[in-house]
Each structure stands twice: as structure tokens, then as C-alpha cells.
């Protein structure tokens, strides 16, 4: 722990520095690769949609000693088109899933179950979803997504600057696409709870990006005035300075999400908790990556195109000094304790 804490200090002063912004082409290509893979998986394989999106019915009967065969037999007595999927959950549960049913078919199926297994109708956990319901919730989710992106863009443009808003949104879209892509590749079920997860990732990923950008803004405020660093260098320092925080935040966010995932998948089998936390878990990981490796470099790319920043870069190159900061200071500085390159600090003390 102490070593990590010490790292925070070295990152802050610029003693140790990762060239994150400078190497942006590398991160761009990695992300481009992932994005392409995601889009390919989405178009070729598509998402594995859950019951709520396809329409269908799911009955869970709880009774000690139930066997899979009994479940299959009961399901074969359903007066429905298509095949029913029968699963055994835990010791005493059977889940039967069917395609979309009319209300009359659903009632009939429930009657078959109550009479076959001799259980009251109330003890059967039932979920029946109409065939058009999925379209409705998908529509709502997409409206919500668009409204959210617009609102956040406006808000960030006001709170920070328009290019930061754009970079943040690019990072968010990147996160959601890759997360959804992972779902397509692995074939996890997408349920409304998963969608909640996806939407929450938007908030989380932005939150992370906001914290980094706040520091970038602070570091770059007077960057053109003192001509010591290019915009990219100042942004890179900000990313490094917030690196410990980003790591800590991600760990602290993943701990509760991980415990929901553990409990949801381990104890309940399937359902809201598992679906939600799985989406969050993947999304958070991608979100942390993007708030460090995509959003700030992308912002720097945007800003470096401005004539003022290009002029600044030329001035800094002419001085030839500042670039060395990030490279010359090797870890041995802790032994030699050379003079730190920010002399004004003494004055403020």
C-alpha cells in the first residue's frame, strides 16, 4: 500500500509519468480494434435477447424432489406451439420457458402445472411477456439514451468546454458499444436489468471522465501563457495526477458491484441482480479504461488542432526543455532526491 501511495506522489510531481496522451495512436488502435470486433459481433451474431424482449412465458415451480424429467413431461402437455425450455435450478426448482403465449394459453399452461405438480397457483413464480412488449421497452431505452447524451453534452459544455463534452461523449459511446459487443461475443442474455446496467455505465463512465477533465482543465488553464508544456503534455500530467484516484475509484466501484454479482449469480442463480451487476462489472472496467486512455487523448487531439495550441507546441519544442521532464527522471530519484522541478512550491509553504 505504501508503495502505491508513494506512486501517487511521484505521479503528481511528474517524477514518474506514463506517456498516455503522447501514445494516443496506440490506444486509438486498440479501441478501434475492439470497436470493430464489437460491431462485427453485433451484426453477425447479434445479441442474445432475454424473455422480456422476445416475448414469452417463464414458470418456476418450487417443490422438493422435482426432477428435470417431470418438468419436461409437464411442459410437453402445454398446448403451445414450439418447444419449451426446461431447466433445473438449485435443489427444488424447475423453470419452464416458452415462446410468446396468448392469455388463454398462459392460463392453460399454469393449470397444467398446478395439477401436475399439485402446487397452488400462487407458489408458481410466473413471468409472461407480450410479443410487442420488447419493442416498447427498447424504444423507451433508446429515447432515454438520446435524451441523456444530449443533456449531458449541454451540461458538460457549460460546466467545462464544448470539446471536453464531445470527448466525454465519444468515450461514453465507446464504452457502451464495447460492452454491448462483449455481450454479443459471449452470448450473455440481455434483459431489462442488463439495459439498466448499460444506462448506468453511461453515468459512471462520464463521472470518471469528469474527474479527469476537471484536472485537465485546471492544468491547461494557463498553458498558453507560460509556454512550458504543450497542451498534450499538460493533459498527460493531469491524467497521471488523477491516475491513483481513477484506480481507487474503480476498485471501490467494482467492490459493491462484484458483491452483487457474486450474490446474484451464486445464490439466486439468475435474475435482476446478476444481469444488472454483470453489465455494470464489464461496463465499469471499460469505462475506467476510456476515462484514462480514450477521453483525455481524444480531447488533446481535438485541442492540438487549434492554431493557438499548435503555436504553443512550436514554442515548447523551441525551448526543448519540458519534454525531458517525463523521461529523464528515472525511479532512482527517490534515492538521490534531486531538486524537484517546481521551485515555486517552496514559496507557497
Amino acid at each position: 500500500m505504501a508503495k502505491i501511495s508513494g506512486l501517487g506522489g511521484r505521479l503528481y510531481s511528474g517524477e514518474t509519468s506514463f506517456n498516455i496522451v503522447e501514445n494516443r495512436k496506440r490506444w486509438y488502435s486498440i479501441s478501434a480494434l475492439f470497436l470493430l470486433a464489437s460491431i462485427a459481433a453485433l451484426t453477425i451474431q447479434g445479441l442474445h435477447l432475454g424473455l422480456e424482449f422476445k416475448g414469452g412465458a417463464s414458470y418456476t415451480v418450487t417443490k422438493p424432489g422435482l426432477t428435470l424429467e417431470q418438468g419436461r413431461e409437464a411442459a410437453s402437455n402445454f398446448d403451445i406451439p414450439g418447444e419449451a425450455i426446461v431447466q433445473k435450478i438449485g435443489d427444488d426448482k424447475i423453470r419452464i420457458q416458452t415462446g410468446a403465449l396468448t392469455p388463454a394459453q398462459a392460463t392453460a399452461a399454469e393449470n397444467v402445472l398446478t395439477s401436475t405438480f399439485d402446487v397452488p397457483a400462487e407458489s408458481i413464480d410466473t413471468q409472461i411477456v407480450g410479443p410487442s412488449w420488447g419493442k416498447e421497452i427498447t424504444k423507451k431505452a433508446i429515447y432515454g439514451l438520446i435524451a441523456f447524451l444530449l443533456a449531458v453534452m449541454l451540461f458538460l459544455a457549460m460546466a467545462f468546454e464544448p470539446k471536453m463534452a464531445l470527448a466525454a461523449i465519444v468515450a461514453v459511446v465507446h464504452d457502451v458499444l464495447i460492452t454491448v459487443g462483449i455481450y454479443a461475443v459471449v452470448g450473455f442474455d440481455v434483459t431489462p436489468a442488463t439495459v439498466i446496467g448499460f444506462l448506468t455505465i453511461l453515468g459512471y463512465s462520464l463521472y470518471d471522465t469528469v474527474v479527469v477533465f476537471d484536472k485537465v482543465r485546471e492544468n491547461t488553464k494557463s498553458v498558453t501563457a507560460n509556454s512550458k508544456q504543450t497542451y498534450s503534455q499538460a493533459a498527460n500530467l493531469a491524467v497521471n495526477q488523477t491516475l491513483v484516484r481513477s484506480a481507487n475509484t474503480s476498485i471501490i466501484a467494482l467492490l459493491p458491484v462484484g458483491s452483487i454479482l457474486f450474490v446474484g449469480a451464486g445464490l439466486l442463480g439468475a435474475g435482476t441482480l446478476k444481469d444488472l451487476s454483470l453489465a455494470l462489472f464489464i461496463g465499469l472496467a471499460v469505462g475506467t479504461y476510456s476515462s484514462v486512455f480514450i477521453a483525455p487523448p481524444f480531447l488533446a487531439s481535438l485541442r492540438e488542432k487549434e492554431p493557438a495550441m499548435q503555436a504553443l507546441a512550436k514554442r515548447v519544442a523551441a525551448r526543448g526543455g519540458a519534454v525531458a521532464i517525463t523521461e529523464d527522471k528515472a525511479p532512482q530519484t527517490s534515492v538521490t532526491r534531486g531538486p524537484r522541478n517546481q521551485p515555486k512550491r517552496k514559496g507557497r509553504k
Binding site: 400462487e122 411477456v129 435482476t272
Partner: protein, 510 residues
């Protein structure tokens, strides 16, 4: 943007902020006591019950989906559900404008009945029978001598209609009152060609269930018509009574299905009628209720029906609470390991935040009927991360300032000024997400969005009037100010290697 010049102003009065927090906490406890709220209201997925989500659908051109029609439907469905007499049933429209769903939640085990009751449009019509035959496809081809108003097209549809299929035994409410239609009976045993409707459901003034003690009719529903209905029904019965079978029958059609089609032996001018049809007591009572409160102005598709048994409900509650506890413990362990004594501030802040959230759940449960669902619990657990993150942003900023060589007290004040901006902007984004999710979503998502938004707000409150004042206070304590190795502010953990570091600690390593 705040400027460091305000330092002196904000450092003052930490005690006052803590007192404010105490007032808020006591106020919430007091409110909860006055309301008599002793436990958080749980959603159906945590205690068992049935929820039905209905999606409005325009059944024909004449009834468009309007906001007023949805409001009216909610009122009628609420009356129907209340007629069941189940406590704490709830009927709400979720969404905005015409793009709304109606969500019905009924706790306990009356699920099946609710589902049947609320989905019915209950469009009642009385139509003269033009032709009748057994319900199978192909039957009725030769018996159906073309009557007035029966086109060859309709005749062919009548012949093809197979009432033994379940899909055709399902009420749709889509029959247009001004047209001649083909329809199945409720049981599927017969099919009919029916003349345009002459008496409509809205002309019914009273409806009640009764039992025929002597006869074999069993449970029935008695109807009384209003003035208009009485004369229309009198005219209809008077006209058909002398005709040959099946033209002397009047079909009672509910949601497009024939409930019964009795032969009329004499004109009925009294304005009373009975519907028989081998009902059980429950069916008769429910039908009477449905007719009494009127037909829904819209047809509805069942979007989702979810029935959770009490066993599954309590399992889910346990799992949610376990996950929450586990998440909290892990976050606490991490904070203390990383931030040492400062981590205890995190622990304290999380405890205060949990207390506030719990009290708000209590109070809001009584005030606005807030119920905690599984998705809501997940939202609250996820928010642990967001809440703890505010502290991290703050602490890291304070450390940054300490690295600049400030004393702890001034580092806390300067760090706070900078962290404050970050925390507010970041939390605003989170609240924005929650508010939009809440308005665009339906069902479980709303529960999630609500708790997420609420806990983010609580986070803001806690950071401002608990965490910051507390850190200001402890910065005055020597243990922290001198940078004790366990304080979380030791020069080593901050990464400061200046003169102060050498005097305050003997360990020299990197």
C-alpha cells in the same frame, strides 16, 4: 470556479455543519415517528405478489390513444382492483403523455384474478343473432342461408372460423358496434353471425351478481339499463320475439365474445336483463364489477405479467441485503487499508449516508408511496461506489495540496475548494442520468433510477455537511496534522520527500 482566496471563509464553523446534519437526522426520525413508519415498504418482487403492465392499443379508429383516455382507464382499473378488496393495491400510469403504460401491483396471492379482471376491456353489446352453428371450422356452410346484411365475404369468414382454437376464445374488444360481425362463444363451442349492436354497455346503469336458488342457471349477473337503454332493449326484444330461430336470439357480447345468446320469448320493456353463462361466484361478481364501473376507453395488451411467490420474494430480499452488506464491508476494508485513519472518515460518512438513505426510504414510503424493489436495492448498492468516490476525490485533492507543501489544515481547505467543483459536476451527471432514466423507463428501471438519484443527493449532503467538516476538525488534531504513519497523511504515503518528511518520520524509503 472557486478561487483559493476564499480559504478563510470556508474553514470556519465545522461544528455548525455537523449540528445541521444532526438536525436533519433528528427531523427525519421525528417525521418517521409521526407518520408511524416502522419499516421500509417493500416492492412486490421482495414480498410476493402480482404486477401487470398494460400497453394501451387503439382498438379501432374511433378510439385514439389520448392522455385523457389513459387517465380514465386508470380510474376504471383502479375501481375494479379496489373491488377485490386487497389492501395496498396500486394502479399507476408510468411514462409521459400518450406514451404511457398502466402498471397494476397487487400484493399477496390474488394474482390470477387480478390479471383476468384488469385486462378486460369490458365492452358489452347486445346484438341480434343472424346465424349460429357449432364452433368448428367448416361447419355452418350450408346452414347459413344468406340473411339480410350478411355478405358472401362474411359468410366465408363465418365458415372458416375455428372457435376451438384458443386464440379465438380470447376477448379483443375490437368489434365495431355498427357492423355485422362473426364471433365465437366464450367456451368455443359455438359461433355466430351477429347484427350491429343495438344496446351498448354504457347504457347499463347498475350491475350485480346473484344466484338462482331454484333453477339450474346458477350464478348470473343482473343488469339495469338507463332510460335510453331501456327503450332500445325493449325495441330489440320486441322485434325479435316473433322471428324464427336463430333470429329470435339476442347475443350478449363481452369484448367480442358471446357470453350467452338466449332466445327471447317476450318483449322486455322493464329495462332489466340477466346474463347467465355457467359462471362461478367469483366470475359473476367480477363481471358485475367490471360492468358497473364501465368499459375501458381503450383496449390493452398485456405487456408483462409477473407473479412472485412470497418465498422467492424473501429470498431476493435476503440476497439484496447480503450483497449490500458485503459491498459495504469490502469498501470499508479497502478504505481503511489505503487511507488508514482517514479511511475511518469514509466509514463514518458511509454510515451517515446509510442512515440518511434508510430514513428517507421510511419517510418517502409514507409520503409518496415509495416502495423498495430489488432493482432499487441494486441502485443503492451501486451508489455506495459513487458515494465513496466523492471521498476519494476529496482526499486525493487534499493529498495533492499537501504535496505542494502545504500544512494539513490549509491543504484540507484548498483541496476542498477544488474537489468541491469536481464532486458537484460529477454528481450532477449522475443525478441527470437518474432523472432521465426515471422518466423514460417503466417498472423496475424506475425503482433503480429513483434510489440512484436519491442516494447521489444524499452523497452531496453528506460530503458537504459531514465529511468536509469532520476532516477540517481532525486536521486540527496533532495525530493527523503531524502526519502520523497511520493517519493517512504521513509524508510517506502522500509521497512528499521534503524537509518536513525528514523531521517527522525516520523511515526513509521509497
Amino acid at each position: 470556479m472557486s478561487t483559493p482566496t476564499k480559504t478563510v471563509k470556508t474553514s470556519g464553523r465545522p461544528a455548525r455543519a455537523l449540528a445541521l446534519l444532526a438536525v436533519i437526522l433528528l427531523g427525519l426520525v421525528g417525521t418517521a415517528l409521526i407518520q408511524g413508519a416502522s419499516s421500509v415498504k417493500l416492492g412486490l418482487d421482495l414480498r410476493g405478489g402480482t404486477s401487470v403492465t398494460l400497453q394501451p392499443r387503439a382498438s379501432n379508429d374511433s378510439n385514439k390513444i389520448t392522455s385523457a383516455a389513459i387517465d380514465q382507464a386508470v380510474t376504471i382499473i383502479r375501481q375494479r382492483v379496489n373491488s377485490l378488496g386487497v389492501a395496498e393495491s396500486e394502479v399507476t400510469a408510468q411514462g409521459s403523455g400518450t406514451n404511457r403504460q398502466i402498471v397494476i401491483s397487487v400484493p399477496g396471492d390474488s394474482g390470477r384474478r387480478v390479471v383476468d379482471l384488469v385486462g378486460q376491456t369490458a365492452e358489452l353489446r347486445f346484438r341480434q343473432v343472424l346465424a349460429e352453428s357449432s364452433g368448428l371450422a367448416g361447419s355452418g356452410l350450408d346452414t347459413a342461408t344468406p340473411t339480410v346484411g350478411v355478405t358472401p365475404v362474411l359468410n366465408a369468414r363465418f365458415a372458416a372460423l375455428d372457435c376451438s382454437q384458443l386464440a379465438n376464445q380470447q376477448g379483443t374488444g375490437a368489434d365495431s358496434p355498427s357492423e355485422t360481425i362473426v364471433a365465437c362463444s366464450r367456451t368455443g363451442s359455438s359461433k355466430y353471425i351477429l347484427a350491429p349492436a343495438e344496446v351498448l354497455g354504457q347504457q347499463v346503469s347498475k350491475a350485480s351478481a346473484g344466484i338462482d336458488q331454484q333453477g339450474s342457471a346458477g350464478w348470473f349477473v343482473s343488469l339495469s339499463f338507463n332510460g335510453e337503454g331501456t327503450s332500445a332493449f325493449g325495441a330489440l326484444t320486441g322485434r325479435v320475439t316473433s322471428l324464427a330461430s336463430p333470429l329470435n336470439q339476442v347475443a350478449i357480447v363481452l369484448d367480442g365474445l358471446v357470453v350467452s345468446a338466449p332466445s327471447i320469448n317476450e318483449a322486455i320493456p322493464s329495462g332489466n336483463a340477466q346474463i347467465t353463462g355457467s359462471f362461478t361466484q367469483t366470475e359473476a361478481e367480477d363481471l358485475a364489477n367490471v360492468l358497473k364501473y364501465g368499459a375501458l376507453p381503450l383496449a390493452f395488451d398485456r405487456g408483462e405479467v409477473q407473479q412472485v411467490s412470497p418465498t422467492l420474494g424473501s429470498d431476493q430480499l435476503d440476497a439484496g441485503l447480503l450483497a449490500g452488506a458485503l459491498g459495504l464491508i469490502l469498501v470499508v476494508i479497502f478504505s481503511v487499508l489505503y487511507y488508514r485513519a482517514l479511511g475511518l472518515v469514509t466509514v463514518g460518512s458511509l454510515a451517515v449516508a446509510s442512515a440518511l438513505v434508510y430514513l428517507l426510504f421510511l419517510v418517502l414510503g409514507e409520503a409518496i408511496g415509495f416502495t423498495l424493489t430489488l432493482a432499487g436495492i441494486a441502485g443503492a448498492i451501486v451508489a455506495i461506489g459513487i458515494t465513496a468516490d466523492s471521498f476519494i476525490v476529496f482526499f486525493e485533492r487534499v493529498r495533492d495540496e499537501a504535496r505542494e507543501g502545504r500544512s494539513l489544515r490549509s491543504a484540507v481547505e484548498n483541496g476542498w475548494l477544488r474537489a468541491r467543483h469536481t464532486i458537484i459536476v460529477a454528481d450532477m451527471v449522475s443525478i441527470l442520468a437518474a432523472v432521465l432514466l426515471y422518466f423514460f423507463a417503466v417498472g423496475g428501471v424506475r425503482g433503480f433510477a429513483f434510489t440512484l438519484g436519491l442516494t447521489t443527493l444524499v452523497d452531496l449532503i453528506v460530503v458537504f455537511i459531514f465529511t468536509k467538516p469532520l476532516v477540517t476538525l481532525i486536521a486540527r488534531i496533532n495525530f493527523f496534522a503531524s502526519g502520523h504513519p497511520l493517519s493517512g497523511f504521513s509524508p510517506k504515503s502522500v509521497g512528499l520527500k521534503g524537509a518536513r518528511a525528514n523531521t517527522s518520520t525516520t523511515t526513509v524509503e521509497a
